[in-house]
């Protein structure tokens, strides 16, 4: 802390803090135009010029960035300080004679009219907008241009109608002291802009309209604070102080008896199949994005709209993106055909767009499913058997506008076709979560060759795993639709409840045991046990078998270098006797 004096009053501030902090504490008003507590001091407007005295030395400094020093004397109303401030304001008034804040400040300093003319400029070059945009928001949409008296503020190249990196956060409008910057009402513009498009653009938003709880969340990849420690404006502006950016991930240990694994799936990334143009071409969507659009509480209110805000004239729905494909996933994702038909039905219901389905086989089994297929056929949905080969951007007839083209072989007709559409929906494969292997390792589960978790028995125990007490349900086990998932989950719940109700666990008699006398404490068995049933007792320095987890597989028995582990019912003599019996 340093103690110093402003206009004869003593005040204390943290070391390194500017004079203006002390003035705020004392309630002494030092006018500023370019100062903002959320931004680094800039010292450009010079309205806060004050006189400081240190010993015999007098100096003119700006209060917004001059660090307070012990024993400093600050004079905010000295003759020199007032004269400098007056002249700065008079010159600002000459530049911006119509700006209220300048008029007001000038009047406070006894200036009614500038001797240098009456300019009609409204920007005072405080730079607050540029600084908040780059320092705090991190959008880098605004900048200065030129230098000297030619200096101006704009977006790069000053092109009208180009949003560029602007995220329309409004921070610049908020800080602008003169009203030089304002928000444009984009809804009035013909053709909705991309802002409504699928999902939030801001780092802090309520994920979906149906989110539970309905509270904003911060996207750590987009949050400037979490990326660079730069911003923290949400925390500063939140009045109930609900935002705490200092929070971070924490780990909790909870003891449980049984575990149900329901980690779900992830969607195949269609960028891997660049021929379909996802991420490169506008209006190529994944099935999940399209689902979001169709949602009546979604970003478009359930309307099917292209990026330019217009209603598409035709939509192509491509099945089997990443599934039934030797290059990616050989399996069928099981649900795509049905939801693709649902898409077609909803599009037909809500617009006049043509719909084209491109399929390999139509997998419409199950109760009422095939009937639905017949229904969409009756709704004049074009169903083309043949996997789409590529999506390109081309002209549509004589129109210069870029439109998507789907090239495919119609195997029923035996012809190549080239179908123009406005929008393409990719039915991407259901695939295991990318970190599922990691989780399987933690839980000691195994995975089938397709990467999903392996059940204990495909027919007799589709919810159990090789480890007692750990169950699986839903798409972490394999692709399945909602009814199947619900059925499996309920079965798992029943199993868990049954065990809880019983209160006891019955275990197989076949299990391994460790002779503590002979155990050398090498821990070799610990990592070998596929059920993680062996732990090391640090006090006794021997390995110990958890009887409830041990399945009696014998791996540890075979591996133990000191022969300290025995399988119950499988002593060496017993095994040798069995071998003899086989051989004789």
């Amino acid at each position: 802390m340093v103690t110093f004096e402003i206009d004869g009053q003593q005040v204390q501030v943290e070391e390194g803090e500017p004079i203006i902090k002390g003035a705020e504490k004392l309630g002494i008003k030092i006018p500023t135009l370019c100062h903002c507590e959320w931004l680094e001091p800039y010292g450009a407007c010079r309205v806060c010029t004050v006189e400081v005295v240190m010993g015999k030395r007098h100096r003119m400094v700006t209060a917004c960035n001059y660090p307070a020093r012990e024993g400093l004397r600050v004079l905010t109303q000295s003759e020199r300080a007032v004269a400098a401030r007056r002249m700065v304001l008079e010159m600002q008034l000459a530049r911006c004679s119509t700006v209220p804040i300048i008029q007001e400040l000038a009047r406070e300093h006894g200036i009614e009219k500038s001797r240098f003319g009456e300019g009609t400029e409204t920007c005072i070059m405080c730079g607050l907008c540029v600084r908040i945009c780059s320092e705090l928001v991190g959008a880098h949409a605004l900048c200065f241009g030129q230098r000297g008296t030619e200096r101006f503020i704009s977006t790069p190249f000053q092109r009208e109608g180009e949003e560029g990196p602007c995220i329309a956060c409004g921070a610049c409008v908020d800080v602008c002291p003169t009203g030089h910057i304002w928000m444009e009402d984009l809804s009035a513009r013909k053709g909705q802009p991309q802002d409504f498009y699928l999902g939030p653009k801001s780092a802090i938003a309520i994920p979906t309209q149906q989110a539970v709880p309905k509270a904003p969340r911060i996207d750590p990849d987009a949050c400037i604070y979490l990326q660079t420690r730069g911003c923290s404006i949400c925390q500063q502006v939140c009045e109930p102080e609900a935002v705490d950016l200092s929070q971070h991930d924490e780990e909790f240990e909870i003891e449980v008896g049984q575990i149900l694994t329901t980690t779900g799936f992830q969607l195949f990334d269609p960028r891997k199949m660049s021929q379909y143009g996802y991420g490169r071409l506008d209006n190529v969507l994944t099935s999940l994005e399209f689902e979001m659009m169709l949602n009546s509480t979604g970003p478009t209110g359930g309307k099917v709209l292209m990026k330019n805000g217009q209603v598409p004239r035709a939509i192509g729905i491509l099945h089997c993106i990443g599934s039934r494909d030797e290059n990616h996933h050989a399996y069928c994702s099981r649900v795509c055909c049905m939801y693709a038909m649902k898409f077609a039905h909803l599009v037909k219901d809500r617009s006049d767009a043509e719909v084209y389905q491109f399929y390999i086989d139509m997998e419409a089994y199950g109760k009422g499913y095939h009937e639905f297929y017949s229904r969409i056929l009756a709704e004049d949905v074009n169903v083309i058997r043949g996997k789409a080969a590529e999506v390109t951007e081309q002209m549509w007839g004589d129109e210069a506008e870029g439109v998507l083209h789907i090239r495919c072989e119609d195997t029923l007709v035996g012809k190549f076709r080239d179908i123009p559409v406005d929008m393409v929906v990719l039915c991407c494969a259901i695939e295991p979560q990318s970190d599922l292997g990691n989780m399987a390792h933690i839980l000691g589960l195994t995975r089938s060759p397709d990467g999903f978790l392996l059940e204990r028995h495909p027919k007799l125990d589709p919810i159990g795993t090789n480890t007692d007490g750990i169950y699986i349900a839903g798409t972490c086990q394999g692709p399945k639709d909602i009814p199947d998932t619900v059925a499996q989950a309920q079965a798992a719940a029943a199993r868990i409840l049954a065990l809880i109700a019983k209160g006891k666990v019955l275990i197989d008699p076949i299990k391994a045991s460790i002779d503590a006398e002979h155990c050398s404490g090498c821990r070799m068995c610990n990592s070998l046990c596929p059920y993680q049933a062996i732990t090391f007792d640090e006090e006794e320095e021997v390995s110990v078998v958890n009887d409830t987890l041990c399945k009696g597989c014998g791996t540890c028995v075979a591996a133990c270098p000191s022969g300290a582990i025995r399988g119950a019912g499988f002593t060496d003599n017993q095994i040798l006797a069995e071998l003899e019996g086989i051989l004789i």
Partner: protein, 607 residues
């Protein structure tokens, strides 16, 4: 290498090159070849000699004969007469203005005679692209001495004791700056040394000359500085308008690296240091230290408040020691010869107080209406009169001196009465001007002081970064007022208004560009107030410069009717037949002055 009997030092400074000195060099080589003298005579391109007004320059050593204003066609005769027969060619020798006799020896020419060379110690004596030439003239001896026989603190102490002050303009004691940089806390011990070679002052070209003529002396200075401060990396920021300087730096850097004078383990002493060169891109404000550092970081050159000094937090927030070219070039001789040797020259006493005087020499660029334009290095404390009249040869064309402007756009105009001022950092500042980087512009009675103030304000208006209000708006308004005075529309009270704006800029502008910007205006008001008043009250420009206040006329006695003026006039305002008096129609004339420049009989007059 065979010993040559004659060394022809051809000036290859920018000034002489533009006067075709390279063609002179080629002609010399052809002639020497023709006479079979190639084995005996060496032709060496050297850096700028400083006497740019009389270029191209040739110095014949060891005879010491100085030739000036040579043209390629003069060479065959010169080679035959001087190189073969040993007779210096009279008509190419230097003739002092207004005199008849020639001065054959360079050392006898007054322009060179009064100079004391420290920063320019190698000028005209070495080929700047050859490190060998530099080494032959004790080059890198100071670095070797510092690195092997002195501790960093000892080096620092010598520089401090020498009283060397920053040659870039501010006059801050170099030793103190080095010490602060050395002492400033740095987390990982990183410190930088930076060379400011962004010579932005119009009318100043000493840094250009040093780099182009002797780049190694700057590198050596930086090596010594880095050693004293504990820096491992150096930066040089060169103006982009100086392509030759950049090239010379790059050549010198490569040679120094190859010779183990830069890079790892310099001279086998274990000290490592290397230098990186950056190009400026055309901005006067980048001569300001914080703007220069911002530019080095790849940012726009906008200054920031220096309440925390750059020696503590400069480039990338690390302690940074920035000195200009001339300062660095002064360091090696100081280390080599000691602080006392340096303090023998100059004014004041720096043994107690580093601000107590100005020691050593200063390089000035003499330009304007003076006979001997060029670069001179003189001891501090020399009077303006000595510089202008003894070295500079007085005012050209028999006109009267009106003012000497020093310090570029940040300096001021001094009147004739102050000619006996002893030039050093403090006297110039006290007189309302400043040393600046050493530009010295001499003006005669044909120069209008109001117009000249307006010129500088106009310059600064375009070169200010525009960040802070006093500088941006102050210059805009000053320019507006000065313009209206020059246009004959000045009002009573304009002078006071200019002074009021100046006071605000001095007190409230962010950086030195802004706080010193009013100097040209204030100093001209102080010493030439009557000229302002004449403009405002009488609508008169006594120097005949301000367009709106003058008319061009033909002097009937002098006009020979050559029609040159009529042909030069872009608006056809001049009429007249061959060999008859010409007349300017004042209603058509747009006062461009083309006729004035074109007339060879002085028949066009400005009233």
């Amino acid at each position: 290498m065979a010993v040559k009997r004659l060394h022809l030092m051809v000036c290859a400074g920018t000034g002489c090159v533009s006067n075709k000195s390279m063609e002179v060099k080629a002609a010399l080589e052809t002639e020497i070849e023709k006479h079979g003298l190639a084995a005996e005579v060496d032709v060496i391109p050297t850096g700028c000699n400083g006497f740019c007004g009389v270029g191209p320059i040739l110095l014949v050593q060891p005879d010491g004969i100085f030739y000036q204003q040579l043209r390629p066609r003069d060479i065959p005769h010169l080679v035959e007469e001087h190189l073969l027969k040993g007779r210096p060619v009279q008509r190419h020798l230097y003739t002092p203005p207004g005199e008849k006799g020639t001065i054959p020896l360079m050392s006898d020419i007054p322009f060179f005679h009064a100079q004391v060379l420290i920063a320019l110690r190698n000028r005209g004596m070495i080929d700047p692209e050859k490190i060998e030439d530099y080494i032959a003239r004790e080059g890198y001896q100071a670095a070797a001495k510092a690195l092997t026989t002195m501790s960093p603190q000892e080096v620092l102490d010598v520089v401090k004791a020498s009283g060397l002050r920053g040659r870039g303009g501010g006059g801050f004691p170099t030793g103190i700056k080095w010490e602060s940089t050395k002492r400033a806390p740095s987390e990982n011990g990183t410190r930088w040394v930076i060379c400011n070679a962004d010579e932005g002052d119009p009318g100043a070209f000493m840094d250009r000359s040093i780099i182009e003529g002797d780049p190694h002396s700057v590198l050596e200075g930086m090596i010594i500085g880095a050693y004293a401060i504990g820096a491992t990396r150096g930066f040089i920021y060169v103006r982009q308008e100086y392509p030759l300087a950049l090239k010379r730096f790059m050549i010198a850097l490569n040679q120094a690296r190859e010779s183990g004078l830069l890079g790892e383990d310099i001279l086998g002493t274990g000290f490592s240091f290397d230098i990186e060169v950056h190009r400026g891109a055309g901005a006067f404000v980048c001569g300001e230290s914080t703007a220069l550092m911002a530019s080095l970081e790849g940012n726009v050159g906008e200054p920031r408040a220096k309440y925390i000094h750059t020696v503590e937090r400069g480039l990338w927030n690390m302690p940074s020691c920035l000195n200009n070219v001339e300062t660095w070039a002064n360091v090696p001789p100081i280390i080599l010869h000691g602080a006392e040797w340096f303090t023998q020259l100059g004014t004041g006493d720096v043994s107690e107080n580093p601000w107590g005087g100005s020691k050593g020499t200063k390089v000035f660029s003499l330009a304007g209406k003076i006979n001997n334009t060029g670069l001179v290095e003189v001891p501090m404390g020399i009077t303006l009169r000595e510089i202008v009249f003894d070295i500079g040869g007085g005012i050209a064309n028999g006109k009267r001196l009106k003012s000497v402007q020093t310090g570029g756009p940040s300096g001021g105009c001094l009147p004739e009465e102050l000619l006996d001022l002893e030039v050093d950092f403090d006297t110039l500042t006290a007189a309302g001007s400043m040393m600046g980087s050493g530009g010295m512009l001499v003006m005669d009675e044909d120069d209008c002081m109001v117009d000249f103030a307006r010129f500088y304000i106009d310059f600064l208006m375009a070169e200010s970064c525009g960040k802070c209000t006093p500088c941006r708006e102050g210059l805009r308004n000053m320019n507006m007022i000065l313009q209206r005075i020059c246009d004959g529309k000045g009002q009573e009270g304009d002078i006071e208004l200019l002074e009021e704006i100046s006071a605000c800029m001095i007190d409230a502008a962010l950086c030195a560009l802004g706080t010193s910007a009013p100097n040209p205006v204030l100093s001209t008001i102080k010493y030439f107030r009557e000229e302002y008043e004449e403009h405002i009250r009488e609508g008169k420009c006594r120097a005949g410069v301000c367009k709106a206040l003058i008319t061009y006329k033909v002097d009937a006695d002098k006009c020979s009717g050559c029609t040159l003026c009529a042909r030069a006039c872009p608006v056809n305002a001049i009429t007249g037949e061959t060999k008859k008096l010409h007349v300017i129609d004042p209603n058509v004339c747009d006062r461009c002055g083309a006729c004035y420049d074109a007339c060879t009989f002085d028949a066009i007059i400005r009233v």
